[in-house]
């Protein structure tokens, strides 16, 4: 089972590269949705069966894999934008940076003082790499929807880490993570709405005009 989990994590890493390298927003959203579904399956692979676990799996797959991507898709259609046109940093350089960070995170994870039973898994490096990818998307993209995608990827990274830490995840942690996600999406939704209404575009760099003098 663990080897299967590791293979799925590799898939997660590959999806990171997809969302780093593509300019098409819909494609990016679908990639993140796929990532969410994979993450929903993961707890079932590493923890013993319980109904609690089934509940978690269903909720995570529903929220990460369907609800949020559907909402984002609607936002993309209603805002009538298809592509991230001029990112702050080009797609190729972002991809390269993503590769560098992924390599770094493997190096970093190898040096972390971990329990011996966690030593050989890919959870920690995959988690850090996904986190870094999320940050990269957040910092390099201009459109508000890309920002939400970045946020989701970042959250997925944190989630992978949580999988490792919590043997049987306490309800508080799940609730916290899901609430985080909800609030984040909610806030970004408001941001998207407001930006497009004020500036009739979704460029977050226009937010500088809100700055206090």
């Amino acid at each position: 089972m663990i080897t299967l989990a590791d293979q799925l994590l590799v898939l997660v890493l590959l999806i990171n590269f997809i969302s780093l390298g593509t300019s098409r927003l819909i494609f990016s959203i679908r990639a993140v949705a796929a990532q969410g579904v994979i993450l929903g399956i993961l707890p079932g692979l590493i923890h013993p069966f319980s109904w609690h676990l089934v509940g978690i799996t269903i909720v995570i797959i529903a929220v990460k894999g369907f609800v949020i991507p559907l909402m984002l898709g609607r936002a993309v259609r209603s805002a009538e934008i298809k592509r991230e046109v001029e990112p702050f940093l080009g797609f190729v350089s972002t991809l390269l940076l993503g590769a560098v960070f992924t390599a770094l995170s493997f190096g970093f994870a190898g040096r972390l003082p971990m329990l011996p039973e966690h030593q050989n898994y890919m959870f920690v490096p995959a988690s850090i790499a996904t986190l870094m990818s999320g940050f990269l998307i957040l910092t390099t993209r201009r459109k508000a929807i890309s920002q939400v995608i970045g946020y989701l990827v970042l959250e997925n990274g944190i989630f992978i880490f949580g999988l490792l830490l919590a043997q049987a995840m306490p309800i508080m942690v799940e609730a916290g993570a899901l609430l985080d996600l909800l609030v984040g999406t909610f806030v970004m939704g408001i941001v998207i709405n407001q930006i497009s209404r004020e500036f009739s575009s979704l460029d977050t760099s226009l937010l500088t005009s809100l700055k206090e003098e």
Partner: protein
């Protein structure tokens, strides 16, 4: 039958349920479209919950055993305990009483139909404020305490900025927010150190910690700063006057009558942790208390805004309470049981009394504001003739707060006076007697302040003819202050029973007292006082009746009040509140500055002109504002970091994370 029921209903559970019910009472109103329904349901729930809670807390006060409830909360801060001992029960009483009264008052004062935008939010946060105060009194876990404390602070903020379209209100809100978070910062330090001392976040039981350990002093100091900022002890009071003045009146009543007491409760609770407090602690409390009392009332005398005056007088009353607490602590340190008893009884009784008469006055000021539309005393006058009931209630509150018998303010101050004098013949702590003249000064200044308040609002003739025609208040606005006025009178007439309410809390604070029969001794003294009070009341009633009878016999010709015999006195010829208090204010020129703007008058026939004087607070204007603006300038360079580019903000976080990761190697 009553006793049979006692087994079924645990009073602690009733109190907890009442607290939660009040907290949730405002929620339906947020979702109901039709205005008014939410408010009415919330008022009904709040009143019933308050009555249940009041009964439960009275029962808990006399319970010897304390029930402890555990919340399973999965947070890494230890188990979350809730318990109501007699100290908590004592402080719960004002919470339920004032919240219930204020809720009923809001029906007439802030009707939903006229304030569709603000009412649901106001009602919601009002319940939340009350509920959080109840929960923090029950909390026995430091983290849970802080959570409840923050909910209280924030809901008070949202209540305060109800009328946020006004600039003054927003400013008051910001000042309050800064002050309260400074306090919370100190409390975080305090509770973290406590946790470090005891090994868990569970609040220690009474007398467990030694005051001689190196951290004890820091814990006590941080508690004093954190809780003192909420209670409004000088010099941490800066937020208080503007916050109380700008909140809706029933909110001011709760803030002043109850929320300030939460600060006192915090200090009180922290002091119970230590078993051998040094003399210094009591000394600091007593001095800070008496200084707050004198300065607070001096500020009050100078105010023109009636709610500001009441707010400053809250600082004074908190000062008196703190003085009593300080005296009691001096007693604990010197193992002097009499001093502990008198100081504590005075302080606790004054807490109870203040939660009767201050909400009474704030609600009364609400009635006046509702009727006239202004808070400026110099714009009012002659309201006693149009709203006699409100005037009578206001009078009762004013007499009570000045400490004049036979009302309740006198009783608690009397106990403090006996406390001060009790050490006159002892070998140590003789200097306590010096506090007596200071308290007397406070009483005198309070009398000036409240004569100014009452007479410029209710006596004389209207000073501003532009004011809309004032009207007597509706029943829902008169009933709550009337209830509070009756309570003031009851405590004043029968102080020995009020003393019984206080005793369990004192006993919990200082268990050695249980053996002493001081309570009976002073109960007897107060019993005699109650006879004198009754006699006085009877005389007042008799003289009034005689006067009425005499008046009915003769012809009455009415003239302008304070017309000084002039046939055609105008309303501009009477004293204003400001002119009445000018002399008293000038005595305190150093700490309380009266900025007078006088016009220059030229020529033999000068044109009409105006003179105004504005009370300014030296500490705020000369010290705190300059310090803050200096800090603002020094940290101006940080503004460059805040440029509004979201990506770069993200980059900051990213860079921090990256550096931390590298650091780990």
């Amino acid at each position: 039958m009553f006793y049979a029921r006692q087994g079924m209903f645990d009073p602690a559970l009733v109190a907890l349920a009442a607290t939660l019910a009040i907290g949730f009472s405002g929620i339906p109103g947020l979702f109901l479209r039709k205005p008014g329904l939410g408010q009415k349901s919330s008022v009904v729930i709040t009143i019933f919950a308050s009555l249940a809670g009041l009964a439960a807390s009275l029962q808990l006060l006399f319970n010897k055993t304390t029930t402890t409830y555990l919340i399973h909360w999965n947070l890494p801060f230890g188990s979350c305990e809730l318990a109501i001992d007699s100290i908590s029960a004592f402080f719960l009483m004002p919470v339920f009483l004032v919240v219930g009264a204020g809720s009923l008052f809001s029906l007439g004062y802030w009707p939903a139909v006229k304030n569709q935008e603000t009412e649901p939010v106001l009602t919601f946060f009002y319940g939340l404020l009350a509920s959080s105060m109840g929960l923090l009194l029950m909390a026995r876990n430091g983290v849970f305490f802080i959570i409840a404390w923050e909910i209280m602070a924030l809901s008070a903020y949202f209540l305060l900025v109800t009328e946020h379209e006004q600039k003054d209100v927003r400013r008051a809100g910001i000042v309050y927010l800064i002050a309260t978070h400074t306090g919370t910062a100190a409390l975080l330090v305090c509770f973290s150190l406590l946790a470090a001392q005891t090994g868990s976040f569970i609040l220690p039981a009474a007398g467990v910690l030694s005051a001689m350990s190196p951290f004890a002093g820091v814990i006590a100091l941080m508690a004093f700063i954190g809780f003192g900022a909420k209670a409004g002890i000088m010099p941490l009071h800066i937020w208080l006057p503007s916050a109380h003045a700008n909140a809706p009146s029933h909110v001011s009543a709760v803030m002043s009558g109850v929320m300030l007491k939460m600060g006192v409760y915090g200090i009180f609770r922290t002091l119970t942790f230590f078993n051998d407090p040094p003399l210094l602690w009591g000394g600091i409390l007593a001095i800070a208390g008496i200084a707050s009392a004198i300065l607070g009332i001096a500020f009050a005398v100078a105010q023109r805004d009636m709610k500001r005056l009441l707010a400053c007088s809250s600082i004074e009353n908190i000062g008196i309470i703190t003085t009593g607490l300080g005296v009691a602590m001096l007693g604990v340190s010197s193992h002097n049981t009499t001093l502990v008893y008198l100081g504590m009884a005075g302080a606790l009784l004054h807490i109870l009394n203040h939660s009767f008469f201050k909400p009474l006055l704030f609600l009364g000021s609400g009635i006046v504001i509702h009727a006239t539309g202004t808070r400026e005393m110099d714009q009012m006058g002659g309201l006693g003739k149009v709203m006699p009931r409100a005037a009578l209630l206001f009078l009762v509150g004013s007499v009570a707060i000045c400490g004049i018998p036979p009302l309740n303010g006198f009783v608690s101050e009397f106990l403090l006076y006996i406390g001060f004098f009790s050490q006159l013949k002892a070998s140590s702590l003789t200097y306590l007697v010096l506090l007596a003249p200071m308290l007397a000064l406070v009483g005198g200044l309070a009398t000036i302040a409240f004569i100014k308040l009452y007479s410029s609002i209710f006596l004389g003739t209207p000073r501003n003819s532009n004011a809309t025609a004032p009207h007597e208040a509706v029943f829902t606005m008169l009933a709550p202050p009337a209830l509070l006025a009756v309570l003031c009178l009851m405590v004043g007439i029968a102080p020995q029973f009020a003393l019984r309410l206080v005793f369990p809390a004192i006993e919990a604070f200082y268990p050695q007292l249980a053996t002493a029969d001081l309570s009976a001794e002073y109960g007897a003294i107060l019993g005699e006082m109650s006879l004198a009070g009754l006699l006085l009341l009877a005389t007042v009633i008799l003289v009034t009746l005689l006067w009425r009878w005499r008046m009915s016999l003769s012809n009455i010709s009415s003239a302008t009040t304070w017309g000084c015999g002039y046939q055609r006195g105008t309303n501009r010829m009477q004293y204003t509140g400001t002119s009445f208090s000018e002399l008293a204010v000038s005595v305190f020129n150093g700490i309380m500055h009266q900025r007078v703007e006088r016009p220059t008058i030229r020529g033999l026939f000068p044109s009409s002109t105006y003179c105004s004087d504005i009370p300014t607070e030296t500490l705020l204007e000369r010290v705190i504002v300059p310090v803050f603006s200096l800090v603002g300038k020094l940290f101006g360079f940080l503004h460059r970091l805040q440029h509004g580019l979201m990506h770069i903000y993200m980059l900051y976080i990213f860079a921090t994370l990256f550096i931390l990761m590298l650091w780990a190697h």
